[in-house]
């Protein structure tokens, strides 16, 4: 797939960053960044959370203006006054956090703010025709009249992409476009990107998924702490080079912790069946059984919609099963409320930390202590002293980088927010800890730390179950890998399996 870069000649420079610097309240977010965006090529921005990628993107798309330096469009220096201004110059952005109106249909979202009007108001028929054409190009079978809230996250991402394509952009900025997509959907997106570049559209691509980005990119820009540490064409780089420039050293996600024996079965799931919570009329988890032992790390791999999230949510008590048994340490827990399951030693770290993990109105400390309030309640009142001790212990345990427990949770980076959610559940001293996509949207350094924490807790005798969409993460620390497909276990491997076999078992086309 890397032939894309070598086979195409470098097109002319359409957009260039010249010494771009940006400060917020005196803090330098970007310190003199220089690179070119070539016509019909993909330029990828690599960097950890907080390295300055978002700031750079905001400047390129007109959302923010640089403190110093300039943007050169077609050889002419230009200042974008707003994102609309940038869009009028042919620069569109697809945000990581979807900006769709969930109540409106796909069609209405794509034409939001620039409806096609005829003599009788909005020309819905024409809009629908264009949307059908766009979605056909994207090989996505979505009815233009479906409300966006009824679509899966991956499909919503496709809609977002279709919207950007519908304005005939010359330069398309994509911020983590694949974070919610399954492997097959990613393939579709990549073929769309190839089509677009063939037509002369330039893509600025941002992704935490380094291998994936390497498949598609022509140029790499690496940022670290606001500095551009490297800029090179695809032919000159590889994965290690990127990681080295991103973090300054080689990072390893770790290997399965050894040197301890597995204990008794802590979690036992028998013939669990869960109907689609969205009311789809089918079972998202279909007569599934699973045993996890103390000290064991089990990775559940599967595509989106395979039922991973629903399985974990049912075990944790958020969804209810139509049949089957869930036992913790041999005792049935299906009738218990979430709080009671937590008290018995079962904890879930949800996938979407903004929606299900954090209370944004609370401080870092209050978030960390939220699941263990009973631990520091004496009689009617909470003990500030005990709470403080618990919070300090959690901050140390999961190594949260914070200016203290009282700062707003929103002030932490994504990786640290994720560690707070994990720390909150670990503070309940669980015997079984379930984590749904614990590495989603966090940088490689934070990922490695999260897995180190999990390995440490497994070695201490806790049973760990986590899901992931990245094969490498399964291969790194799990003792056992379970592949889920359509609500069932389609295969089970030990950690010495190859990537290709895992992907084949999950129903993915084997990537080159």
């Amino acid at each position: 797939m890397s032939d894309a870069a070598t086979s195409r000649p470098a097109g002319e420079v359409v957009l260039a960053a010249r010494n771009i610097a940006k400060s917020y309240n005196g803090v330098k977010a970007l310190k003199g960044v220089n690179f070119d965006i070539h016509r019909g090529q993909v330029t990828t921005l690599f960097g950890e959370n907080g390295a300055g990628k978002s700031t750079l993107m905001k400047i390129l798309s007109g959302v923010a203006q640089p403190t110093s330096g300039e943007i050169v469009l077609d050889g002419q220096p230009i200042v974008f006054s707003s994102s609309t201004d940038a869009r009028n110059h042919g620069i569109s952005i697809i945000h990581q956090e979807l900006s769709l109106a969930p109540n409106l249909s796909v069609r209405d979202n794509i034409f939001m703010g620039r409806e096609i009007t005829g003599p009788t108001g909005v020309d819905y028929a024409e809009e629908e025709r264009q949307v059908r054409r766009l979605l056909a190009e994207l090989e996505e079978d979505i009815d233009p009249l479906t409300p966006v809230e009824e679509l899966r996250l991956g499909q919503q991402q496709i809609v977002e992409i279709a919207r950007a394509l519908s304005v005939d952009s010359r330069i398309l900025i994509m911020d983590e476009p694949t974070s919610a997509l399954s492997a097959t959907e990613v393939e579709v997106l990549f073929s769309v990107i190839r089509d677009l570049t063939a037509k002369g559209v330039s893509i600025v691509y941002i992704s935490h998924h380094l291998e994936e980005a390497l498949q598609i990119t022509d140029h790499a820009v690496v940022l670290r702490d606001g500095n551009m540490t490297a800029y090179a064409p695809r032919a000159d780089i590889d994965l290690e080079w990127i990681v080295r420039n991103m973090v300054g050293e080689n990072y390893d996600l770790g290997s399965p912790p050894t040197g301890h024996d597995f204990g008794p079965i802590m979690l036992s799931v028998r013939d669990l069946t869960v109907p689609d919570p969205a009311g789809g009329g089918y079972n998202v988890v279909d007569r599934m059984s699973l045993d996890v032992r103390a000290g064991e790390i089990v990775c559940i791999y599967g595509l989106m919609g395979a039922g991973r999230t629903e399985l974990l949510e049912t075990v944790a008590g958020k969804l209810s099963a139509t049949s089957g048994e869930i036992a913790l340490e041999g005792k049935e827990i299906s009738h218990l409320a979430i709080g009671e399951r937590i008290a018995r030693g079962l904890a879930l770290v949800p996938e979407d930390r903004q929606r299900y993990g954090l209370v944004q109105t609370m401080s870092v400390g209050q978030n960390l202590s939220l699941a263990s309030i009973r631990e520091f309640t004496r009689g009617v009142f909470t003990s500030l002293r005990l709470e403080r001790a618990l919070i300090q212990k959690s901050i140390r345990n999961v190594t949260v980088k914070t200016d203290g427990p009282d700062v707003a949770i929103g002030s932490l980076s994504g990786g640290n927010q994720q560690k707070v959610v994990i720390g909150k559940m670990l503070a309940t001293d669980p015997k079984v800890i379930l984590l749904d996509e614990p590495s989603r949207g966090i940088d490689i350094g934070a990922k490695a730390e999260v897995f180190r924490i999990l390995a440490h807790h497994a070695a201490a005798g806790q049973a760990v179950v986590f899901t992931t969409s990245e094969v490498n993460e399964c291969l790194s620390i799990a003792h056992r890998i379970i592949i889920m497909r359509r609500g069932r276990i389609s295969a089970e491997f030990t950690s010495d399996i190859t990537k290709e076999k895992i992907m084949a078992a999950s129903g993915e086309a084997v990537a080159a």
């Binding site: 400060s23 917020y24 309240n25 005196g26 803090v27 330098k28 977010a29 950890e48 959370n49 907080g50 390295a51 978002s54 700031t55 702490d225 606001g226 944790a316 958020k318 409320a337 979430i338 709080g339 009671e340 399951r341 937590i342 008290a343 879930l348 949800p350 929606r355 299900y356 993990g357 954090l358 209370v359 944004q360 109105t361 609370m362 209050q366 939220l370 699941a371 309030i373 009973r374 309640t377 009142f381 909470t382 190594t399 980088k401 200016d403 700062v407 707003a408 929103g410 002030s411 932490l412 980076s413 990786g415 640290n416 909150k424 559940m425 309940t428 940088d443 350094g445 934070a446 730390e449």
Partner: protein, 350 residues
């Protein structure tokens, strides 16, 4: 690891940690400064405004709104709203009035005159029941809070009107020979020179403040209002929290109803009309977020005093009551504007 604090993208952090510039301090303590400003301005305009007796009289007026506002605060903290407090106040007042007039048990041919303590307990129980009805509909049947409490607002008002046929129960003093005197104690008596109603407000405010800041229920409440999903997955009994806050609001409305009918020595079915809006205004002026999860009793009390001292001040200097309405409205809009500035874009997005 990344150094999020160093890159400055997360500017709310810097703001929260931040250097306390005078403007930020002014913004943070806005309800307090507004109250001080009101007191200073009216003291200049009228020599009678800042006297001990007038402040106590104004405070006893504030007590009604204040008690309702405490209930409203806990509901708003949970992310809900309670429009039924004014009507529950009226219905509870009317029931208390009816009980004071005697309950006739026809088949037995007797009229029962319950003692005042029993009247108070029964009235509070009724408030709790109506509040719990709100809570159950909202938490278990997922009817939106706005609609549920709107419905209960109409029903409670209607029942109050039906019971009295639109008339008012006068003379709630009771008779010594029946042993049910003392109802006016709440509204008229003073302890150490302070009206009982103000002491009731103070006691309720302190209790609620302790509950919010120091009890596990308080923490549950802030978490459920801040992010219900996250609270639920952290084991917070979100439904129980919701039912409890509406029940509390109902009880506080009943208490306010008792205080009001005691102050007026009469109980009418149209009492407390639009008081729910005053209570919401007090909570909002006090800096609470209508989206839930943010707010304090201290702020809400300041908000109630701002509204009460402003409208009484306008009466004292002889401004038309129509202007009072305009002023109150302006203060509310200003307060919400300040909330928006303080909580920034994040508050709006929710």
């Amino acid at each position: 690891m990344t150094q999020s604090s160093a890159n400055g993208i997360s500017s709310p952090a810097a703001a929260a940690r931040g250097t306390t510039s005078p403007i930020k301090l002014l913004l943070k303590g806005r309800a307090f400064f507004a109250l001080i400003a009101i007191i200073i301005v009216f003291s200049f305009l009228s020599p009678n405004y800042l006297t001990v007796s007038n402040v106590l009289i104004m405070s006893s007026h504030v007590a009604i709104y204040g008690i309702l506002a405490i209930g409203m605060l806990v509901v708003i903290l949970s992310g809900g709203i309670d429009l039924s407090v004014g009507s529950i106040l009226a219905l509870c007042g009317v029931i208390a009035g009816a009980l004071m007039q005697g309950v006739e048990l026809k088949p037995l041919g007797v009229i029962l005159f319950p003692p005042v303590w029993a009247v108070v307990v029964l009235t509070c129980a009724l408030g709790a029941l109506l509040g719990a009805l709100n809570g159950i509909l909202i938490a278990l049947f997922r009817v939106p809070a706005f609609v549920t409490t709107l419905g209960v607002m109409y029903m409670a008002r209607g029942i109050a009107l039906l019971m009295t046929n639109g008339l008012t129960y006068n003379n709630l003093a009771g008779r010594p020979d029946l042993g049910n005197t003392g109802f006016d104690w709440l509204g008229f008596n003073r302890l150490f020179g302070v009206p009982i109603s103000v002491l009731v407000l103070a006691a309720l405010a302190v209790l609620t403040g302790l509950m919010l800041s120091r009890s596990s229920f308080g923490r549950w409440l802030y978490a459920s209002g801040g992010n219900e999903n996250a609270a639920d997955l952290s084991g917070v009994p979100v439904k129980r929290v919701k039912i409890t806050v509406y029940t509390l609001s109902g009880i506080l409305s009943a208490i306010a109803g008792l205080v009001l009918s005691s102050q007026l020595t009469s109980a009418g079915p149209t009492a407390g009309t639009t008081y729910e809006l005053t209570a919401i205004a007090a909570v909002v002026i006090g800096g609470a977020a209508l989206t839930g999860g943010r707010g304090t009793v201290r702020g809400t009390m300041l908000g109630a005093f701002v509204i009460g001292f402003l409208s009484d001040g306008l009466v004292i200097i002889g401004v038309s009551s129509y202007w009072q309405t305009v002023f109150t409205g302006a203060v509310i809009v200003l307060a919400v504007l300040m909330n928006t500035i303080q909580y920034g874009a994040r508050g709006i997005r929710q």
